[in-house]
């Protein structure tokens, strides 16, 4: 109980207090890290408890069940919460080591974390929307961090496009309330079957569009490169490692948990869009030169893999989607943080991230690609399975090419790394530690696979 409150609430209190102070001071940064660390530790403890004893439910304000707003921590939500909080923590630590440049940065990161934890742990659809807006508003401002003109413009584009997505999501929530008479996700999942296919398909489409925008799927990706290219390394790490998780989680929660029938009905569309995303993202990424731009297009492709696993569905497909989302956010966090540094060991850490994105063992990316292959093989029909496996393989091969193109252009070009002073040792150690975590997860993948299976079980049981 107290763990849920701590996970969500601590960063909110710290954020509100630190918003009044000058974030450029090191003491404020350390306070922010303390708050975020508390949130991370409680999320991990909550995760251990959920995996051991099943889901933890808390009704806000001690109202009876069905009246009050439920906060529900299950394996799926907690997994996303721990990973996102970890990436946010690493990014804030990185920025505090290098020196924060804006007075609001620590407070904004804390508010963002509050929103994210709320999204992953709430059991109420409208509450989901509110936390979603908290997280998104903080990330609009973060995109404009350092206030260069192109960053402010990127923030404006990001805000407009994502607000449109939020409005569509809000309309879908109102529609779900109309047809099920409840905002509680669990009760809505039980009642949705009685509503008949016509209204629910419209709502499911609206929800898919809303989360497709967040995660940056192929037809909704247009905003993504402009935003990533404009943003600063830790902000890009937060956006692609933590905020993008909202899209993946939302699709899993609303598609797999609340509306599994509609998800199965729309599976061909999801497969087509997912494949288009993978091909388009890889194709564009190979053609770019700036590392941030390459990774922005790569993010579009990675969203496609998650969508394909979701469309295949069932325990194996859902587990594949969860594992892929988790590993992908760690990869992206590492890669974006590493591109902002220079000096000894940074290149090695970047190479681990690049190997992981390409799915080469021993990095954790191999395990996530393997989970996808399993899902593709489990799909019914030999021809479909073969096509899927081929698609995933080709996508992986292309990501190998673009990852090492940027490795080459950053670290192997003479004169590039020697120019300027190396970055502080602590920041490099942080990046190397993230890389070590990815390798460790790749070498000993049991915890990852177990968590993926547990999270998938939540979805399969709910349907």
């Amino acid at each position: 109980m107290i763990l849920i409150t701590l996970t969500i609430g601590v960063t909110w209190v710290f954020g509100a207090a630190l918003a009044m102070m000058d974030g450029r001071r090191r003491s404020v940064g350390i306070l922010a890290l303390l708050g975020l660390g508390t949130s991370l530790v409680s999320a991990i403890l909550l995760g251990i408890r959920v995996l051991q004893e099943g889901k933890v439910v808390m009704i806000a304000g001690d109202w009876p069940l069905g009246l009050g707003i439920a906060l529900r921590a299950d394996a799926l939500g907690v997994t996303f919460a721990v990973v996102s909080c970890g990436v946010v923590f690493a990014s804030l630590l990185y920025e505090v080591i290098l020196g924060v440049r804006s007075r609001t940065f620590p407070a904004l990161v804390l508010f963002l974390n509050t929103g994210l934890m709320g999204i992953f742990l709430t059991g109420d659809m409208f509450n989901f929307y509110v936390f979603f807006e908290i997280a998104m508003t903080a990330s609009y401002v973060l995109t404009g961090y350092r206030e260069q003109d192109y960053q402010v413009r990127a923030a404006f584009i990001f805000a407009i496009v994502n607000l449109l997505g939020s409005v569509i999501f809000l309309i879908a929530v109102a529609g779900l309330y109309r047809i099920t008479g409840t905002l509680d996700m669990m009760i809505a999942a039980e009642r949705i079957g009685e509503a008949g296919p016509n209204p629910t398909i419209v709502i499911a489409t609206a929800i898919f569009v809303a989360f497709g925008l967040k995660i940056g799927l192929f037809p909704f990706h247009f905003w993504l490169p402009a935003v990533y290219v404009g943003s600063h390394a830790p902000v890009a790490a937060i956006l692609s490692g933590a905020v993008a998780n909202i899209g993946g989680y939302g699709l899993l929660r609303f598609g797999g948990y609340i509306m599994p029938d509609q998800l199965a009905f729309g599976a061909p569309v999801l497969l087509a869009l997912g494949s288009a995303s993978i091909i388009y993202g890889a194709h564009q990424a190979v053609a770019r030169h700036s590392p941030v731009e390459v990774m922005a297009y790569s993010a579009i492709g990675q969203a496609g893999y998650i969508l394909i696993a979701l469309a295949i569905g069932g325990p194996i497909g859902y587990a594949g989607a969860v594992i892929y989302a988790v590993v992908n956010s760690l990869n992206k966090g590492l890669i974006f943080l590493a591109t902002g540094l220079r000096g000894w060991m940074v290149g090695a850490a970047f190479a681990v991230g690049a190997f992981s994105i390409a799915g080469v063992p021993p990095a954790a990316g191999f395990i996530s690609k393997l989970a996808l292959f399993r899902a593709a093989i489990a799909w019914n029909g030999i021809a479909g399975s073969v096509a899927m496996v081929a698609l995933i393989f080709v996508g992986g091969a292309i990501s190998f090419v673009y990852s090492f193109q940027i490795y080459q252009s950053i670290y192997l070009k003479p004169g590039r790394m020697e120019a300027g002073k190396p970055s502080p040792l602590a920041a490099r150690i942080l990046v190397v530690a993230l890389a070590a975590l990815l390798v460790a997860l790749g070498l000993y993948p049991e915890p990852l696979l177990y968590i993926g299976a547990q999270a998938a079980e939540v979805l399969v049981e709910g349907s």
Binding site: F126, L163, L164, T339
Partner: protein, 134 residues
């Protein structure tokens, strides 16, 4: 009644979509405000019921209108207005640096700045010299 409300929602939404596609930043902001208000109207419409005000103690036997949608829409209005304030602040920030709120002018100025950077042979977007002024 349902027809009138849905007509109103669709007209507001359409007007907002039209404004979002304009080149003027202020019009874009007004467009997004209109669209979010169309969504608010949609929420109210989703739970529209005729009845007494839902204030305790409840009158016996009579129907009570749904209070939940009103609570929801109140929250959504607050969120919408604060985000609109943020967007206006961003537009103002762009106006002060470019002296224009036209998207075309701003992109043109940016393209020129990017070209100037490229001519100076320092196209590093990834964190040039953290210590020095950028």
């Amino acid at each position: 009644m349902i027809f009138i409300i849905s007509l109103a929602i669709s007209i507001i939404f359409a007007a907002g979509s039209y404004l979002i596609l304009q080149r003027n930043l202020i019009r874009v902001v007004i467009g997004i405000v209109l669209i979010s208000n169309a969504a608010n109207l949609f929420i109210v419409a989703a739970g529209i019921t005729r009845g007494q005000a839902p204030i305790y103690p409840l009158p016996d036997g009579s129907e009570i209108s749904d209070p939940l949608v009103q609570a929801m829409v109140l929250t959504a209005i607050v969120i919408g207005s604060s985000v609109a304030a943020l967007l206006l602040a961003l537009s103002y920030r762009l106006y002060t640096s470019h002296n224009s709120i036209d998207v075309d002018d701003i992109s043109l100025a940016e393209a020129e700045a990017a070209e100037a950077l490229e001519r100076d042979e320092s196209p590093e977007l990834i964190d040039p010299e953290r210590e020095g002024p950028v």
